[in-house]
Structures are given as structure tokens and as C-alpha cells.
């Protein structure tokens, strides 16, 4: 239960971190941010990086920046930061509510938003938020910066489009348009435990019908994503129970659930269906949550 040996690097500048990572990525060099997923994996020897590049002492990575394009979340912004709404309106309330589902206070005080995305656990709440709200990921490597759309970012269980020498330096969530309603629902067996299914939905009502619906599903498949087949059903329809039932059933039909010793595919499909219905119910109440 002790991590394997590694060489520790704690650069003060992002450029230095990128250079060290560039030199050590081939040798399984890894970024250490909050460490709340990587360190347990190292303790269990599931991860044995030869080099750790600790970005915790780099100034500026803990910034939250709101501008006309959206909210940009820096690489060292920790989960607990969202406990008080970081932006006005529905986005700040949503992020606050979602953050309360992440593990427990000591974990939330250390773990980072961007670290969750880079780690890409199927049950990560932030990955679902990023996928559903079309976040834009900024990835940097030595001499190169690129922006990756959420739809292109997740690639499998704990797999992303990031290359080993890249650091996810920031994630931008676009501002929801005025009138946007959002709802989030998560099912897990214990408080703070991994989600078995969760859904985030957002939409607007224009002319009495659902406009720009987004139906995100997480914790069920290899990675969270929007379910286009379900969005097509609810788009342009009034928000009525039979429409929502068909939307939820289309979600369950469209997915390839993860299975394990405790959960069958049929069980996870049913959880997915319920999660979508409850997320819509919460959105219709005008708040991300009833809590």
C-alpha cells in the first residue's frame, strides 16, 4: 500500500512544467494536481509513474475567469471552490449543487475540476457537466496550445484525447443562454460514493416547446456523453410526461452500459431512464436541484 519510487518535480512556472513533462512523458511522467485519484492509484500500485510533475506551486492555475464567452476554470481550481456559486445565475447554482455530490469535504478541498476531466472516470460528475454543456478544453504542451471540444475529449474509461506530454490548463464552460433550465440527478449507493447513473439536462422553452435540449448521461457508459437519440425526441415538443417518458426510454435504448458483479446492463439502463426523468423534473422546478 505504498507508492512505488518516482522522481518528484515541483516547477514554479508552467513553461518549466511543460518542459519537464515533455522530457519525461515517454518515461510515464504524470501530472500531479490535487492527487485525490492519482495518489490512491499509486498507493494500490495501479499507477507507477517514474516521474511526477507537481503543478501545485505554479501561480495563476487556480484562477476562475468569467468573460463574455463563459467561465474558464484553471487547472488548480478545487472542487470545494464551487461550494459558493462562482457565477451568477443557473450555471453557478448548478456547479454548486453538482460539487456537493463529489466525495467528501477533505477530498473536495484537494481534488481539482480539471484533474477530474483529465482522469476521466466514468462516474465523474465534472466530466458529465463538461460533456453536456459543451465545454472547451485547453491543452498545452511544450510550444503548442490547442482547444479540444467536449465531444472529442472523452475516449473511453479513464481515457481522453490528451497526449501524455499535455497539461489540461483550463476548461471553459459557455454561459447558458437566458431562460435556460438545468437539472441534475445522481444515483449512488452511499453518499459520496461513485455514481451508478447520473443525468444532467438543459433546455429552453420557446413558443411552448423544448428548444436546444441537451441530455447528458454519466456513470453508465465508458464515458459521459450527450444522447442525441433522446435529444431528437424531446426537441420541438411540449414538456409533457409522455414526451419525457419516450425521451428517457430512448436514452436507455441508445446506451451501452458498463456491467460489473453488482450491476447488470438492464439495471443500469433502468437507472439511466430514471435519472433522465428526475433530471428533467428538477429542471422544470427551475432549480438544478431540490436540495
Amino acid at each position: 500500500m505504498k507508492p512505488a519510487p518516482f522522481t518528484y518535480h515541483a516547477p514554479a512556472l508552467l513553461e518549466d512544467a511543460l518542459a519537464i513533462l515533455g522530457d519525461t512523458a515517454q518515461d510515464d511522467g504524470r501530472v500531479l494536481a490535487g492527487g485525490q485519484s492519482l495518489v490512491p492509484m499509486m498507493a494500490l500500485r495501479l499507477a507507477q509513474p517514474a516521474h511526477l510533475v507537481d503543478i501545485g506551486r505554479i501561480d495563476g492555475l487556480g484562477d476562475l475567469i468569467e468573460d463574455s464567452a463563459g467561465l474558464t476554470i484553471g487547472a488548480l481550481v478545487r472542487h470545494q471552490r464551487f461550494h459558493a456559486p462562482v457565477v451568477e445565475g443557473v450555471l453557478g447554482r448548478l456547479l454548486r449543487y453538482v460539487s456537493s455530490h463529489i466525495a467528501h469535504l477533505p477530498i473536495r478541498l484537494r481534488g481539482t475540476f480539471c484533474g477530474s476531466l483529465a482522469n476521466a472516470d466514468p462516474a465523474s460528475e465534472w466530466c458529465l457537466v463538461a460533456a453536456t454543456l459543451n465545454a472547451r478544453m485547453t491543452a498545452r504542451r511544450r510550444g503548442e496550445t490547442r482547444v479540444i471540444a467536449a465531444a472529442d475529449f472523452f475516449d473511453g474509461v479513464m481515457a481522453t484525447a490528451l497526449s501524455p506530454d499535455e497539461i489540461l490548463t483550463g476548461v471553459q464552460i459557455p454561459h447558458p443562454l437566458p431562460g435556460t433550465k438545468v437539472g441534475f440527478y445522481e444515483f449512488s449507493r452511499r453518499a459520496g460514493d461513485f455514481a451508478l447513473a447520473m443525468s444532467l439536462v438543459s433546455y429552453r422553452i420557446e413558443g411552448g416547446v423544448v428548444t436546444d435540449p441537451r441530455i447528458g448521461l454519466g456513470g453508465v457508459e465508458e464515458y459521459p456523453r450527450r444522447i442525441a437519440q433522446a435529444e431528437e425526441i424531446v426537441a420541438g415538443q411540449p414538456l409533457e410526461s409522455d414526451v419525457l417518458e419516450r425521451t428517457a426510454e430512448a436514452t436507455a435504448a441508445a446506451i451501452a452500459p458498463l456491467v460489473d458483479h453488482h450491476t447488470s446492463a438492464a439495471y443500469r439502463r433502468d437507472l439511466a431512464r430514471i435519472a433522465v426523468l428526475r433530471a428533467f423534473a428538477r429542471a422544470a422546478q427551475g432549480e438544478p436541484a431540490d436540495g
Binding site: H104, R110, G192
Partner: protein, 162 residues
Amino acid sequence: MDDRRDLTLHINGQRHDIRLAARKTLADAIREDCGLTGTHTGCEHGVCGACTILVDGDPVRSCLMFAVQAEGRDIRTVEGLAERDNLHPLQQAFIDHHALQCGFCTPGFLMLIIGALAREPDPSEAALVDLIASNMCRCTGYKNIIEAVRWFEGRRSEKGES
């Protein structure tokens, strides 16, 4: 090839100059290199919370930090709670309300609760239950832990302490 280095940790106001491998967790460094064995290690992968300490005032799992990450930070452990022979009032409240049985999880609970109450005093019942769900007590003493915290909070508000 173990990356060993010199390191200074500041724990409960005392300076500890130590030499250790980069892979050594803060929990192990506190216990083995600084001799402060009040911080307990249970699961060693961030689930049980027995090793919870305060780093710059925040309750964190010391098994999920490497000691090298804690250089320059203000660390507080259970040994720093009592003043000479006088227990910290939350420690006394744990005794008075039977909030421990075997006691293995107690240092972690004390540091968790003291750190959390400093951030948000007087939590709601739901918030308190959510908070203490962070840590595991295998003797299932949660009910009495809540009673101890309630007594401690009442005492604080009577005395007008923040």
C-alpha cells in the same frame, strides 16, 4: 531509484528537519519521521479518513499527499489540540458523550470536525451528517459523535467564540 531529499515540515508550530523519499506520504512522514503517531493510517488510499489532518487549516487526507508537497505548509495534527494537560473541548466532548469506542478513528474525526467547523460554524443536522460521513467509524459511533459536536457547538456559541 528512490528520489530522496531534505525537507522541513512545520507541525503544531514545531519545525521538523527530515530526509525522506519523495514517494513517502505525509501521513507516514508525520508518523515515522516526525514521531507523531497520533495521526493514524487505516486504508492508506483515501477512503477511511483516519489520517485526516489540517494543512493550512483545511482538513485533508494525509495519505493522499506526499510529504514533499507539504513543505512550507502549516500542519496541525491531533497532538496539537490539547494545551498541556487540558484536552481540547472537542476531545473532552468525545469522552463525555462516548463518541469513541476503540478510538482508532478518533484523531481523524477530531481534525475533520475542527477544520470543517472553522470553515462553516453551526452546521445544519444534514450538513453535519454529510460531514461526518467523510470518515469511517467501524464501531458505528456516529450518533454519539454528532452529540459531542452539538455539545461543543453549543458551548462555543454560549461563550461567543467564533
